[in-house]
């Protein structure tokens, strides 16, 4: 039982850490640190770094949270099935 809990927790941490890496890159990375550099690229009327800072990072945040919901649902299902068998 305990070992199973540990396995579940490790899988959980893996999901959280990978999503947080994307979270960090899209906001602090593209929106702040590399923002001026990305501003050299333009699409439509937007400079890319500016777009990440004021639009893109927010869209990515929404996607990340729903990805998390989906991945955790799958994980919970996997572990509760093991419990049944």
């Amino acid at each position: 039982m305990n070992e199973k809990n540990n396995k579940y927790w490790k899988a959980n941490l893996k999901i959280v850490i990978s999503l947080l890496i994307i979270w960090f890159i899209s906001s602090f990375g593209f929106g702040i640190i590399f923002s001026d550099y990305l501003d050299q690229i333009k699409f439509g009327g937007f400079k890319l770094g500016f777009w990440f800072a004021q639009q893109g990072s927010i869209y990515i945040f929404v996607i990340l949270v729903f990805l998390y919901v989906w991945l955790m649902k799958r994980l919970d299902k996997k572990f509760s099935e093991e419990e049944d068998s």
Binding site: V16, G31, G45, Y59, F61
Partner: protein, 582 residues
Amino acid sequence: MTTQLLTYIFVGATFTLYIGIALWSRAKSTNDFYVAGKGVHPIANGMATAADWMSAASFLSMAGLIAFLGKDGSVYLMGWTGGYVLLALLLAPYLRKFGKFTVPDFIGERYYSSTARKLAVVCLIFISFTYIAGQMRGVGIVFSRFLEVDINTGVIVGMAIVFFYAVLGGMKGITYTQVAQYCVLIFAYLVPAIFISILMTGEVIPQIGFGSTLVDSPIYLLDKLDQVTRDLGFVAYTENVKTNIDIFCITAALMFGTAGLPHVIVRFFTVPSVGAARQSAGYALIFIALLYTTAPAVSAFARMNLIDSIQDQPYSTSPNWFKNWEEIGLIAWQDKNEDGKIKYSSGNALEDIKPKYLDERGEYGERLLQNKPNLSNENEIYIDRDIIVLANPEIAQLPGWVIALVAAGGLAAALSTAAGLLLVISSSVSHDLLKKTYMPQITEKQELRYARMSAAVAIGIAGIFGIYPPAFVAQVVAFAFGLAAATFFPALFLGIFYKRLNKEGAITGMLLGLIFTASYIIYFKFINPEINNSDFWFMGISPEGIGSVGMLLNFIIALSVSSLTKPPPDEVLELVDDIRRP
């Protein structure tokens, strides 16, 4: 129908709706009062969380702030949305699994200490009252401008409404009124944004119009704005003024602060399960993102329109909105070069920045000022940033019902946030201080009565803040986020993810985070405001961003003190194991 009559109708109709919902959803138990019986659907909770979170600051002030800050304004956009990723991934599901009523509850039990619980209550009350003061100012501005009633009357009407549904309905009443308030506020925000986007760029969706060309020329809106702002002596709209390290720290403080705000966290206690808590964080973020991705487009449109409609205009033929806001005292004009025309450029127009009006009128009918003109620049106007969202429909000459709608939306945003804050204050008093600390013998019925009484007292205090607004309201907003980041976030995060953290570590960490952050902000904002600039800041980090340094200190101290003292007892380790299982 006049705009004012329409505003009365819209505001009256929405207020009636809120009262109706309050009557329908009365709280019958402490479980209802604190956490709405834990039966709220994730989508409804997502809307309620969004309304709870989006305050007068988000609705009224943020787009205006960004309009003047340009790219620097991104800190608010990323900071106030990115925190939800942290909340969803690191806190909400686990705190829901813990399954109690308040944030100090978790801290008290996880760190097996009533000192920790009391410290958490103090931080919570301080953070929440700071925040409420801002909401009441928002209510006052909307009432005085659009309904032409006295600010004090406006605050009292607002208090009466919140009193009604918060005291009667508790969390249950608040939740369902917040759902209605979300619908009102998002509609009120999007309609004018869509109108203006069509007028300026021909695009229906503001997020697209923001990156499109202007209707009357092949030039992109943002390129034109860059050029115009540069010509007037500002830094180009899409370029930063602040340093990267400061932007980094402010964004981080706002993100971690958002994740640590008790009135937001407690919303996730109201859903039926851990899975529902995760989902509802996702819905909340979508609902919030709808406003937060529209806001920067509104900012760019507003800045462009503002410059177009007043620059080099003779004051005598200046638009009505300009004169209306001058009467309220949020716009001022001082004809430095005596040509009778309005000249707008970079720099503060007046010495002492804020206008002090004389009773006399000038040659063109403008209100004369006591302030001496600031002769180091050519700028002749003072504009309060808080008016941009409210004035935007008028500046773009939209119909009266849109203006009325915006007034109702601003009130919805301010009241929903105020109610959520009042609830966490009252429940931490009745539950954490009375039931769990000083009066454990009281029955549930008595506890519910105390909860209602403390809600009533808290509303009274909030009203006093609204009627006698402390001059420091704007300065202390940094406090709420900085302190939440430096105290609550590390204690909650480590409480879940690091079993070994004991009470000694958590308490010293929170105390140090609190003292460091508070002293830095007080030093620069109140004791020595004249040296509040990057030459004197620690590593170039402004008081707005210092919460992230406070948070780091908290982490370091909490971890080192813990490793030197004895580990937490077994039942706490079991508690942590239990909240980690969904």
